[in-house]
Amino acid sequence: MLTYILKRILSVIPVLFLVSVFVFLMLRLTPGDPAAILAGDNATPETLERIRDAMGLNEPLLTQYVKWIGGILHGDFGTSLISSVPVLDLVSQRVGPSISLAVLTIIIAICVAIPMGVIAAWKHRTWVDYLVMSFSVLGFSVPVFLVGYVLLLIFSVKLGWLPPQGFKPLSAGIAPFMERAILPALTLASIYIALIARMTRAAMLDVLNEDYIRTARAKGVGDRRLLFVHALKNAAVPIATIVGAGFALLISGVVVTETIFNIPGIGRLTVDAVLARDYPVIQALILLTATLYVAVNLLIDLSYSLFDPRIRY
């Protein structure tokens, strides 16, 4: 078990290394000069050259990469070109809202989607199944921001039940937090629910075709027990996998949702940084979210053995 965990953690290193190379090259090989942004529109070629020198942009790519990655390994993600604040400080100021939003979304999504998928599989080819599947396809087909605006239009503008935008941390109390977080979380959850419900249904349908389900029926096991004791545990691995893979959707969703609902989180920081071409911030954010994604999926990988005794490390 321990060797397996160690091995899996080690196997993440080349992936993260490649991510860092991609991020680095993406920003270096595209047109657009960071020095020009820092220097402003009226800079003379001489100032530009001085800034490039100071930023190390005239050194060979390899040297630049080694310096950059060396800094990151020491916890130095560079400084924002726009606000001159260390990137790590910027991120840590903004991380709270995004995390609380993401956690709320995951809880909502799992609580809604798994029962939906199970019931759809159980009532395969009935109107219940078709309803769940329609909802799920719809969830994939509506742009996230449209969901957000429709919710906003209904609950804030027309009904006036909820404050339209902004964010209050959990420390300000549950009610103020939920009031502002519920619409963004629902917006974010829509596609996530669609994804998990669909996978749950597919995995359950697969499992329900297995021989051991027939064995259980032959023993006189009833429907509910069949679904939740015999089938769901067997379907858990693919469901957990999709929860992990869907995490990428969640990150993208956070970017959009925070923009709509005006939440001061990582997502907004990303959009602002990209539009301002704030290179150090973009690099750091992509690297951090990729690391987070890899870490979440690593944890999910390791959790498989909880569901399936055949997976032993």
């Binding site: 060797t3 160690l6 091995k7 080690l10 080819r125 297995e210 021989d211 051991y212 027939r214 064995t215 259980a216 029926r217 032959a218 023993k219 006189g220 096991v221 009833g222 004791v229 015999h230 545990k233 067997n234 569901f307 399936d308 005794p309 055949r310």
Partner: protein, 552 residues
């Protein structure tokens, strides 16, 4: 060992099926799957439903259990009476209560019939949870008791094990324990030993008989294997296309079969007595192996290194026109040998001399000219032809690779189709338009298109019904006589080996335990394992084609 011969006419009837009709789905445009079958089983009696694939024997068992796939199959008429009660009219809830208590079932695949994520003890216990109100300790005691009755070793440990930690035979014992724990009046066994090795099969069959004796269970046993029928049946129903063609005691059916189909089935069962040895012309061997072996190595960085010796020390020589059988149970390494010879894998030890040249380590390009001398036929006829290719394209693939003009290749394909008894217009069709037996004949035709010197048949008839199997074996024999091809025949079935092989090589766990002329190895085996294999062959005391016991 001899046929069962007990009179059950005084015993009460347990299961009575009358005019049972099962149809496909809601729109019954297709003919029924079961066309009004009737039979009964008495207390303590074993009735075998025997038939080839598509005969409707499994549908009968599922209908009795009330487990027909929802929507797909429906009981349209007739009665299924268990101890007088008509099961067809019961509600799903009532049927649920009858299962395991009054009637139970064991299935073909012990590997997949147990829930992989639950401990086996808990799975047996579940039956008691559902149908009894015993205390936890009483339940446990009862489970342990039944596990001992099915002769599981180390019961306490197995109780806490997951299915994947047990062997196939052990899992089937668990299934039997689960089925019989409430002492149901009827046990349905649907091909319960088909997926098991012969030695395990023998144990499971005698276990079922033993428990039946003890509890007086009526057994409905479904099988395609006449040998198994001879071992366990009191009465036999022969099924074909959803009808029972013939019913009778085992003795009646085996000694005086009335229906032509039954006669055909019986005569298709290959005899265990090896055929007359063919004279060895003493020609130069075309294929020789010397200490051939394959070891799989895995692991390395951070993982435990492990080695699996899939096969080792394989020595034989094969002359044109001769057939070598490689016989063994699953995991014996027989397929590894076949794949090494074909150079689908690279052996780790020894030599493979094809016409004197060692091909054991040739590169892909150096191997190419040799390939056409070595061809292969695989087990699964459904997967051995590219489903997207016409038969013509599949057949000409080899010759075209070696620069034969298309017209010539297609002419040869037509000629070979005739030899394998398929119409010429088969060329334009796709594999899915043919039956399993036909596909296997096409695969054989494809293999001989290149006029190879050696043909490797890897369990080539194992997936086929017995009557089709006989046709394919005849075809191979015919081809061998016409072309003098040498055949390596990989099989787990001693009956087949006895009928087709000149020499036999018996393998166990990667090792060759015995080899020699077929007559000698199968008739007077020297090694203990070979003897065990022969002893385990079901129905070995009976000569099916001759309708009489074998005289040893």
């Amino acid at each position: 060992m001899e046929l069962r011969n007990k009179d059950f006419s005084a015993e009460p009837i347990v299961l009575e099926i009358k005019d049972l009709v099962v149809e496909v789905g809601s729109k019954s445009v297709l003919p029924p799957i079961l066309k009004g079958i009737s039979f009964d089983i008495r207390h303590g009696e074993t009735v075998c439903l025997v038939g080839e694939s598509g005969s409707g024997k499994s549908v009968t068992s599922l209908a009795t259990m009330g487990l027909l796939p929802k929507d797909a199959l429906k009981v349209r008429g007739g009665e299924i009476r268990l101890k007088g009660e008509n099961l067809v009219t019961l509600s799903p809830g009532q049927m649920k209560q009858r299962r395991a208590r009054d009637l139970a079932m064991i299935f073909q695949e012990p590997m997949t019939a147990l829930n992989p994520v639950l401990k086996v003890g808990a799975q047996i216990m579940e039956v008691l949870d559902l149908h009894t109100r015993l205390s936890a300790s009483e339940k446990r005691a009862k489970v342990i008791d039944i596990m001992e009755q099915v002769h599981l070793p180390d019961v306490e440990r197995i109780f806490e094990s997951y299915p994947h930690q047990l062997s196939g035979g052990q899992r089937q014992r668990i299934m039997i324990a689960m089925a019989l724990i409430l002492e149901p009046a009827l046990l349905i066994a649907d091909e319960p030993t088909t997926a098991l090795d012969v030695t395990t099969q023998k144990q499971i069959l005698s276990l079922i008989a033993e428990l039946q004796e003890k509890h007086g269970t009526a057994v409905l046993f479904i099988t395609h294997d006449m040998g198994v029928v001879a071992e366990i049946a009191d009465r036999v129903c022969v099924m074909r296309h959803g009808e029972i063609l013939e019913t009778g005691t085992i003795r009646q059916v085996l000694e005086e079969p009335r229906h032509d189909y039954t006669k055909k089935l019986l005569s298709a069962v290959p005899s265990l007595i090896p055929r007359e040895p063919r004279p060895d012309a003493g020609a130069t061997p075309v294929l020789v192996t010397k200490d051939l072996g394959k070891t799989y190595r895995s692991g390395g960085f951070l993982a435990k290194k492990s080695e699996v010796r899939a096969s080792y020390g394989v020595n034989f020589d094969l002359s044109p026109g001769r057939t070598l059988g490689i016989v063994g149970e699953s995991g014996s390494g027989k397929t590894t040998v076949a794949r090494s010879i074909m150079r689908l894998i690279e052996p780790t030890e020894g030599q493979i001399l094809l016409e004197g040249d060692d091909i054991a380590h040739l590169s892909t390009s150096a191997m190419k000219p040799k390939r056409k001398k070595l061809q292969v036929v695989f087990q699964d006829p459904f997967r051995s032809l590219n489903p997207r290719w016409t038969i013509a394209r599949s057949l000409t693939e080899g010759p075209l690779n070696y620069g034969v003009p298309y017209a010539e290749a297609i002419a040869e394909a037509k000629r070979l189709l005739q030899i394998v008894s398929l119409p010429e217009d088969a060329l334009k069709r796709y594999p899915h338009q043919f039956s399993g037996g036909q596909r296997q004949r096409i695969a054989i035709a494809r293999a001989v298109m290149l006029r190879p010197d050696v043909l490797v048949a890897d369990e080539a008839v194992s997936a086929l019904d017995v009557s089709v199997q006989a046709q394919v074996l005849d075809l191979l024999d015919e081809l061998q006589r016409q072309t003098g091809i040498a055949i390596i025949f990989i099989t787990h079935d001693l009956r087949v080996a006895a009928q087709i092989c000149d020499e036999v090589l018996v393998m166990k766990r990667g090792e060759v335990v015995e080899q020699g002329p077929a007559g000698q190895v199968l008739h007077a085996p020297q090694h203990e394992y070979t003897r065990a294999l022969i002893n385990a062959a079901p129905g070995r005391f009976w000569d099916f084609a001759a309708h009489k016991p074998l005289v040893a």
